[in-house]
């Protein structure tokens, strides 16, 4: 029986699993450790693993040079703002696709998804020109708009999948009970879809937080987010590994914490349809 696997097999698999996990995690671990080293030690050969001289100077330098707080604030504004804006557009869209489908609904869903298959650089020039002419370059609201548009297909798809699980009878009951569309969505659909909406929200905050292509190309100083902040440290003026690591750590820490605290919700939401 497979369940009575010998002790050796169990130990073997455990070691293997840990090895793979550590291998995958090692770059992040390396970044974390390096952030606390001096610049000299960061490039020392042979490299040290734990810092010989533990220092927090890198974090101070990083804040002085590039204003971490401002970038972090921009990241929060853009990721949360674009997700909320996306939800406001996507909830009615997913409602209509799930509960009032037409012959073309499936095609529209596929078409929306297909936009995600296109490489972003493909539309770089037109978007850049539009942003320049509308004076949206290097603005937080411009970035929020583009981030909303980028993630909208995913938000709609996810919500559509969750909404499909909700029995249409219950929405019809609400209509019979005198609920107009707005009340039907606010009092019945949304509360019933809270787990799905929460997962969608979390995933999209994470995606928007980590998005680098558009945030780097469409911002310079004012509206830069944390991804732009990291990239500013890998500039050719000289590679400061320890500072780059400190910057990266500062940039990913909030989202890692968010992911860590919400992992139950994320997993539950992402497997919502599968388990039922």
């Amino acid at each position: 029986m497979a369940r009575n696997a010998s002790v050796q097999t169990k130990v073997g698999f455990t070691v293997l699993a840990w090895t793979v996990a550590l291998l995958l995690f090692s770059p992040i671990l390396w970044t974390i450790v390096t952030a606390f080293k001096t610049e000299a030690e960061a490039i020392a050969t042979p490299p040290t693993f734990l810092p010989l001289t533990f220092t927090l100077d890198n974090f101070g330098d990083v804040q002085d040079r590039s204003d971490y707080i401002k970038h972090a604030w921009n990241s929060i504004l853009v990721s949360v703002g674009s997700t909320l804006l996306g939800l406001v557009i996507a909830i009615p869209a997913a409602w209509s696709m799930a509960f009032a489908p037409t012959k073309r609904t499936k095609d529209i869903l596929m078409w929306m998804l297909s936009t995600k298959m296109m490489p972003a650089v493909g539309v770089l020039i037109p978007i850049y020109l539009i942003f320049r002419d509308l004076r949206l370059l290097d603005t937080v609201h411009g970035l929020t708009i583009i981030m909303t548009l980028i993630n909208l297909p995913i938000i709609i798809w996810m919500l559509y999948t969750y909404f499909k699980e909700i029995p249409v009878d219950i929405l019809e009951a609400a209509r019979m009970d005198g609920a107009e569309l707005w009340n039907e969505i606010v009092h019945v659909l949304v509360p019933m879809a809270i787990p799905g909406i929460a997962s969608t929200l979390l995933l999209n905050v994470i995606l928007a937080w980590n998005e680098a292509f558009w945030t780097i190309t469409l911002t310079s100083g004012r509206a830069g987010t944390l991804t732009a902040f990291i990239s500013s440290f890998s500039s050719p003026q000289g590679l400061f590994l320890a500072k780059l690591s400190a910057a990266s750590l500062l940039a990913i820490a909030p989202i890692l914490l968010l992911g860590w605290f919400s992992q139950k919700q994320l997993v539950r939401g992402l497997t919502f349809g599968a388990v039922k």
Binding site: P167, D169, E172, A173, M176, P191
Partner: protein, 336 residues
């Protein structure tokens, strides 16, 4: 008030015509049952009245006012669904209060009405539970409570009892009938159970393939079915039909005899038709005999439960001459 008028209502889903042309007049305070085989369009017709589906053509009027294009929320009707369709995220109290909240009623008045509905339906001790913590029968009561608090113009029921077990079904059937007597509000009730139809209805609409076969009181349908379909559908067990020479003796294309309209004898020759008992279903009060009649085929005969029958017993049947139903070639009932 709650009179409902359908004028030449037609409904198609894409190319498929589900309801070709229905006109009906339902009077205020009536209990009307839509009955018919599965897929005949009962639910569709009910949903058209509710406003959950749009008519393809034709008009629907409530109290004389044309509501054909009006959304369900504006029609002032209440519906009880087969699946109960309670709001799972709300307590029983909030479920019942929901339509009142939508009507923007003051909270004090809402509380009063919810308490009253809960008392009427014996829901008092469940008010703070979620629907998932209720049994099927309790859920159905909550669904009815949610429907009555708003004092709608009419109630629409779509097979509300079909998810309940047999005993509970009989109970709820009585409760709904009592509710109707108490409220005197128009009710339209969809079922494919003809016992429910016969026992609850003031008038029954028999539907078949999207057409009204007959609209009349239960006894009218039983005594004077308009055609073979209604004759076969109303009455339990089903009417027996005979074609051919035996029917021609009565100047008809086919004749029908209900199982309860036979005189049964075991004395040789003491009957018009001779047959052999195939299966005897003994219910105690009655016995249903499935008799293989020579030259005519299988017939169901109802007899009292006094005598026992066995497979292979010889019996002699005489149809009650005054209660033979006659039909023409198109299946329409022939008048005497």
């Amino acid at each position: 008030m709650g009179s409902i008028t359908l004028e030449h209502v037609n409904k198609s889903f894409g190319e498929v015509e589900i309801i070709p042309d229905i006109s009906l007049e339902i009077e205020d305070g009536e209990f009307v049952v839509f009955v018919g085989p599965s897929g005949c369009g009962k639910s569709t017709l009910l949903r058209l009245i509710a406003g959950l589906e749009d008519t393809t053509s034709g008009h629907i009027k409530l109290d004389g006012e044309d509501v054909t294009g009006a959304p369900p929320a504006r029609r002032g009707l209440a519906m009880v669904f087969q699946s109960y369709a309670l709001y799972p995220h709300m307590s029983v109290r909030d479920n019942i209060a929901f339509p009142l909240k939508m009507a923007k009623m003051p909270q004090a008045e809402i509380d009063k009405k919810v308490e009253y509905a809960a008392r009427t339906l014996n829901l008092g001790s469940y008010l703070d539970r979620r629907p998932r913590a209720l049994s099927g029968g309790q859920r159905q009561r909550v669904a009815i409570g949610r429907a009555i608090v708003r004092e709608p113009k009419a109630f629409l029921f779509d097979e509300p009892l079909s998810n309940l077990d047999a005993a509970l079904r009989v109970n709820m059937r009585l409760e709904i009938t009592e509710l109707h007597q108490q409220l005197k509000t128009t009710m339209i009730y969809v079922t494919h159970d003809q016992v429910e139809a016969m026992t609850m209805a003031d008038r029954i609409v028999v539907l078949n393939a999207g057409n009204v076969e007959q609209f009349g009181s239960p006894l009218e349908l039983y005594k004077r079915p308009a055609n073979r379909f209604v004759a076969g559908f109303i009455g339990s067990p089903k009417m027996n039909f005979v074609d051919g020479p035996e029917a021609e003796k009565h100047n008809a294309h086919s004749i029908g005899v209900r199982p309860e309209h036979f005189t049964l004898s075991t004395t040789a020759g003491a009957g018009q038709w001779a047959g052999t008992v195939n299966v005897a279903e003994q219910l105690g009060s009655d016995t249903f005999l499935h008799v293989e009649v020579e030259g005519l085929g299988l017939m169901t005969v109802r007899t009292d439960g006094e005598q026992t029958f066995r497979h292979g017993d010889k019996v002699y049947l005489t149809p009650d001459a005054n209660r033979i139903y006659r039909f023409d070639a198109a299946g329409l009932a022939l008048q005497d």
